[in-house]
């Protein structure tokens, strides 16, 4: 729109019951506010919480969202309306970015919960906690109209041209639908080694802790995933991911064994810069159910050159 202002919009069209379109994301980015070291992002966006959540799904290295993101942030991750202030710390040898965000949870779809859902109709709709029924992943963050405050620190020390390591710490607070105070913490890391023209080894992981305070009692939930990915050339990519996560609104707080687990093997073939075919085998063990083996397929088709996302640093 203007040299220091850009506007991004991501529209989605799909059919569940009826064919419908929606605005997944639409935000303006002011790269630099005057001569200050601050930038700002305004609009509807994926919250810059953690490493995977801010990334648009077709840029992920896997077909699905890891279980801790599904269980503790929402079915499609956390998306909402608000503003993020970015500050790049002045440093010669360390990329260090601080982000502060303020969002309003004014739309259930923002958290991946369709408007018309009747929770009792869901196969997975279970559990009555504090007298309220919840869908498995629904409303994991909070309630309509509530303010959500968040912060993130991303660090990437400069090593050399072939190695890159990144660390992140994220935190958010809001109020749940039932009035509980809700706090979510996250820690993440990523190591990438680049060799040759297109070879790349990537090791990454994230850990979340979800905590609710209700009438003097605390409820803690946790989850993590680890991903290893190897790209031997420009076409192929092999990945292995392990997920472990409790659910935000299920079972007693002390029931650590009540966690979902999944092991995934991922194979991606890149046809060109932005088109790829992906197969993901997932061995899923839901907390209350028997093991399921699933085969997920993804075809992403794009054309023309476009910008490549800088993972988790915007």
């Amino acid at each position: 729109m203007y040299p220091s202002i850009r506007f991004d919009a991501i529209l989605a069209f799909g059919k569940e019951e009826d064919f419908a379109g929606s605005v997944e994301e639409a935000y303006a980015t002011v790269v630099q506010l005057g001569n200050t070291p601050f930038g700002v992002k305004l609009g509807r966006m994926r919250l810059p919480f953690g490493r995977v959540n801010p990334i648009h799904p077709h840029h992920l290295l896997h077909r699905d969202l890891p279980l801790p993101v599904l269980n503790l942030l929402g079915d499609h991750g956390a998306i909402s309306n608000g503003a993020v202030l970015n500050y790049l710390l002045p440093s010669q040898r360390l990329y260090a970015q601080l982000q502060f965000g303020l969002f309003t949870l004014n739309d259930h779809a923002a958290l991946g919960v369709p408007h018309a859902h009747n929770h009792s109709e869901h196969e997975n709709g279970e559990e009555a906690e504090n007298g309220e029924e919840h869908n498995r992943h629904a409303e994991t963050l909070g309630a309509d109209g509530q303010l959500l405050r968040m912060a993130r620190l991303a660090l990437a020390p400069v090593i050399d041209r072939d190695n890159e390591v990144e660390f992140g710490l994220s935190g958010l607070t809001t109020r749940a639908r039932n009035g509980d105070n809700l706090r979510l913490l996250g820690a993440d890391f990523q190591y990438r080694r680049f060799y040759g023209a297109a070879q790349r080894l990537l090791l990454t992981g994230e850990w979340f802790q979800h905590r609710r305070e209700s009438g003097g009692n605390g409820v803690n939930r946790q989850g993590y995933y680890l991903l290893a990915s190897y790209k031997p050339d420009r076409y192929w990519e092999y990945g292995l991911r392990y997920d472990w996560s409790q659910r935000a609104y299920l079972d007693a707080a002390s029931d650590v064994s009540g966690a979902d687990r999944a092991l995934s093997a991922i194979l991606t073939y890149r046809l060109n810069e932005q088109s790829y075919i992906r197969l993901q085998w997932r061995n899923l063990k839901p907390a209350e159910d028997s093991v399921r083996n699933e085969l997920l397929f993804q075809l992403v088709f794009g054309f023309g050159p476009h910008s490549h996302p800088l993972e988790g640093t915007q």
Partner: protein
């Protein structure tokens, strides 16, 4: 004490670390041209490594850090280095954004080839809507890129305009001199057909009068397919084409298979300064010219 610490902090974050102009380019060939014009008045670095496939550079936080401190950003443009756009956003340095004084698009003024006309759709592969972006392989276009860089350096560091002008004049003079030598080296082979992996040398081949018979990619950015390769083999045999040109970062599997069937020679070319032992723009073009001339001569 607090005041001193505050002053020290301000000095560290607000003042330039040296008198040199900090320049960041997307590719190493542009970094070399900046160095040749700016000499020791510039401190230049390239975001992509010489071994990178220029289409597939992965943006990284360390690159955003480099851009955050740059006074001048120099790019190829024409969407080749579109991968740098998110880095520019992440770097939060308004001085080097599009339209700012520290932004240089070297494609300005280049006579563009293969600009698509009419409809552009996914069936055309990774087509660049502004045309083929590999113009720097034509030395005459390197002079245009150098002119754009010169203007950028003058804008951000007007005090050293004369120094930059001298550097630019010397670069252009050397290109003109070398261009004659390169044309002489390839003139015995005018009109001869070559096959490329990707349309990287379109500008180069036009400059030196060589014929691009086919590419191993059926469409830009699309991996070779068996049916397309069969067609390429037939065309090479018909035309008596004996040379397959590939950039240094391409896999050898497909060109080697075609070479076995046709008896052609696979020639690996440096597609970036720093690749294949090259040290500057001139040695890169030297290597390309010499290797193609030798292959076409059957050596």
């Amino acid at each position: 004490m607090m005041k001193r610490l505050w002053m020290l902090w301000l000095a560290l974050v607000a003042l330039p670390s040296a008198a040199q102009v900090r320049v960041v380019t997307t590719y190493t060939d542009l970094a070399d041209i900046v160095k040749q014009i700016g000499g020791n008045r510039v401190q230049v670095s390239a975001l992509a490594r010489p071994q990178d496939d220029f289409h597939l550079v992965t943006p990284r936080p360390s690159m955003a850090l480099e851009l955050s401190r740059a006074k001048l950003f120099v790019r190829v443009g024409m969407d080749l280095d579109l991968w740098a756009d998110d880095l520019l956003t992440a770097a939060r340095n308004a001085a080097i954004l599009r339209g700012a004084s520290g932004y240089v698009d070297c494609s300005l003024g280049v006579k563009k080839l293969e600009v698509p006309t009419g409809r552009v759709d996914p069936s055309m592969g990774d087509v660049h809507i502004y045309g083929n972006p590999h113009y720097l392989f034509d030395p005459a276009n390197a002079k245009i890129a150098a002119r754009n860089i010169l203007e950028g350096l003058k804008r951000v560091d007007p005090a050293n305009t004369q120094e930059y002008q001298r550097g630019y004049d010397a670069f252009v003079a050397r290109i003109d001199e070398q261009l004659k030598r390169w044309q002489q080296a390839l003139s015995p082979h005018t009109g001869m057909p070559v096959v490329e992996y990707h349309k990287t040398l379109t500008y180069f081949l036009q400059r030196f009068g060589l014929q691009q018979l086919a590419t191993l990619e059926p469409k830009p950015g699309i991996p070779p397919t068996p049916s397309h390769l069969r067609e390429v083999v037939a065309r090479m045999k018909n035309a008596g084409c004996k040379v397959i040109l590939i950039e240094h970062f391409r896999p050898r599997r497909f060109p080697d298979a075609i070479a076995r069937e046709t008896g052609a020679k696979v020639v690996v070319l440096p597609a970036a300064v720093g690749a294949e032992g090259t040290t500057d723009y001139f040695s890169m073009i030297d290597a390309i010219v010499n290797r193609i001339a030798a292959a076409l001569a059957g050596r």
